[in-house]
């Protein structure tokens, strides 16, 4: 028997597999396909203070080994998520969930986190700092160590739950930003969010995505994600949730060797709805193949 159990800030997970925010909705569609309680946890769709329709369509473009999305944080707003979605989620998923929180100002992050902090169903608050800061010319919070730290402090001040800051990969020095978040009190780091990308439609000569650019994810970005997880692991002591292009049990092991304690699966869920189930089921076999008996033994193994 192999051990796939890992622990994130005191929260035990049966396995490190966590669907990534925005690619699993609130779990309902997947719960119709398989028992999603087999998952380590799941990170639900990014939530903001107000309800958002998101960006105009087209919001999706295809790429080699991946896709671009510009959904733009479509969600019903934090109050409705707490009132309507959390109770529904509890029916299909009985473990602690990860609440993915977004904001366009420091106050919005704090507001949402404070609200969600009261929900015992929520195990971890995952703070997506890839959103543009409306007060500072639209640069994303995740692009400066100071801004990311400011959000971290504001959220930590109003919550008792573990706070994971989810970093944007569109930066020069990911380690510096992770370090700033750790110093500001973050309990963990999630990375990577999507790479900024663009596709142009040759038939119209214009960008495919209505918003022009969008977030590029899927297996194509895996090498960038592994590199960043590796770099952040060297920079911080807090646990890392690694993601970006993971689509097989082998990829999970690679992410963990780079330094991840748990691993999120994003775009793979969309094109392969059973992706997480398949990965969880094949994980023990692939572990055996590489002589791994306990996943905890390999976390950060590539650094030794």
């Amino acid at each position: 028997m192999v051990n796939t159990k890992v622990t994130l800030s005191g929260i035990p997970l049966d396995n490190p597999i966590i669907p990534a925010s925005g690619t699993f909705g609130y779990g309902y569609e997947f719960a119709e396909l398989y028992d999603i309680n087999m998952l380590g946890s799941f990170s639900f769709k990014g939530t903001t203070r107000e309800a958002r329709f998101g960006n105009p369509t087209p919001r999706i473009a295809e790429c080699t080994g991946g896709m671009i999305n510009s959904v733009g944080l479509q969600n019903p707003g934090i109050e409705k998520v707490i009132r309507e979605e959390l109770p529904k989620m509890r029916k299909v998923f009985h473990k602690p969930v990860i609440a993915n929180i977004s904001g366009f100002s420091v106050e919005e992050y704090a507001f949402c986190s404070e609200k969600i902090d009261k929900e015992d169903q929520v195990g971890i608050i995952e703070v997506n700092v890839s959103c543009p800061n409306v007060h500072h010319g639209g640069m994303s919070f995740g692009t400066s160590p100071e801004a990311a730290a400011e959000v971290t402090r504001a959220v930590k001040a109003v919550t008792t739950k573990p706070v994971y800051i989810k970093l944007s990969p569109n930066v020069t020095d990911i380690a510096a930003i992770a370090k700033a978040c750790e110093e500001a009190g973050a309990d963990g780091i999630s990375l990577i969010n999507t790479l900024m990308g663009m596709r142009i439609d040759l038939k119209t000569g214009k960008p495919i995505i209505a918003n022009k650019m969008g977030g590029f994810s899927g297996s194509a970005i895996f090498p960038v994600a592994v590199r960043m997880v590796y770099q952040v692991y060297e920079a911080v002591k807090i646990p890392i949730i690694g993601m970006g292009g993971v689509s097989s049990a082998e990829d999970v092991l690679e992410m963990m060797l780079a330094g991840a304690t748990a691993v999120q699966i994003g775009a793979a869920n969309l094109v392969e709805p059973f992706a997480c189930k398949n990965i969880i089921e094949s994980l023990p076999h692939v572990m055996k193949k590489y002589g791994i008996t306990d996943l905890n033994d390999i976390i950060g193994g590539a650094h030794k």
């Binding site: 925005g22 690619t23 909705g25 569609e29 329709f53 998101g54 959904v71 775009a267 969309l270």
Partner: protein, 244 residues
């Protein structure tokens, strides 16, 4: 929704760019015409959504136009190769509202879902009028198939090479005794139909999709009753809820 492997039984051209593919597999998740399949194609990341044209308890028929990498690859597939397909996606058309004499309007690759819909309505004892629009005679397909069902078929071509010269709306505007309408085709056609029809109706929309089963919000559109996912809450919307 189900995910399963289908075996290609037939894959044949109907025109120079439109193909018919007959697939054998588990069709149990398909409950309505107007629903679609989401087809995995080797080497491409996203699945390709294609409407159900017809189905029975072990086969499903689709008609697709070759427009890019995915459909180009599909065109080259031969029996008995297999495809990984998600079935039972989308709401599909609701025939309970049709009344006795509904119009079924298909433009270009919007034609396929009308086929099974016509079949069902005829089976329910209704007398659908099928109106098909194409650019030109050479691009027309499935007219005979609709006629064989016993439906009344009217055709419009933009260049007048077959049937009425003009658009499906030119035909629809001259009709009056219909009880309802069902439409699928390019968005400008749907918009024009929404304006020129005298009854209520159901229209099917296309959108670029991430998942096709409601998980990603990639295909959202705003309706009068709030945001809907074309893939899950659609692709069929009621005329009254659409915001143009």
């Amino acid at each position: 929704m189900k995910q399963s492997r289908f075996t290609i039984l037939k894959n044949e051209p109907l025109t120079s760019t439109v193909y018919r593919m007959v697939l054998e597999g588990d069709t149990s998740a398909i409950t309505k015409t107007g629903q679609f399949l989401n087809i995995k194609i080797d080497g491409l990341f996203l699945r390709r959504p294609i409407s159900v044209c017809d189905y029975d308890d072990k086969t499903v028929t689709i008609l697709y136009k070759v427009v890019g990498a995915g459909t180009e690859a599909m065109k080259l597939m031969a029996p008995p190769s297999q495809l990984d397909i998600l079935t039972g996606l989308g709401n599909g058309y609701d025939t309970t509202k049709s009344g006795s004499c509904p119009l079924l309007i298909g433009g270009g690759v919007g034609v396929p879902p009308m086929y099974r819909l016509a079949k069902n309505l005829l089976a329910e004892g209704k007398t659908p009028i099928v109106i098909l629009g194409f650019n030109t005679k050479d691009e027309a397909f499935y007219i005979e198939e609709f006629e064989h069902l016993g439906a009344k078929v009217l055709v419009a071509t933009s260049d007048g090479s077959l049937g009425t010269k003009g658009f499906v709306t030119d035909i629809v505007s001259n009709l009056s005794d219909y009880t309802y309408f069902y439409a699928c085709g390019p968005e400008p056609m749907l918009k024009a139909l929404s304006d020129c029809t005298k009854t209520s109706g159901q229209l099917s929309f296309e959108e670029r999709m991430g998942c096709g089963f409601g998980a990603c919000m990639g295909c959202s559109c705003e309706t009068k009753y709030g945001s809907k996912r074309i893939c899950k809450d659609g692709p069929v919307l009621e005329k009254e809820e659409i915001i143009w």
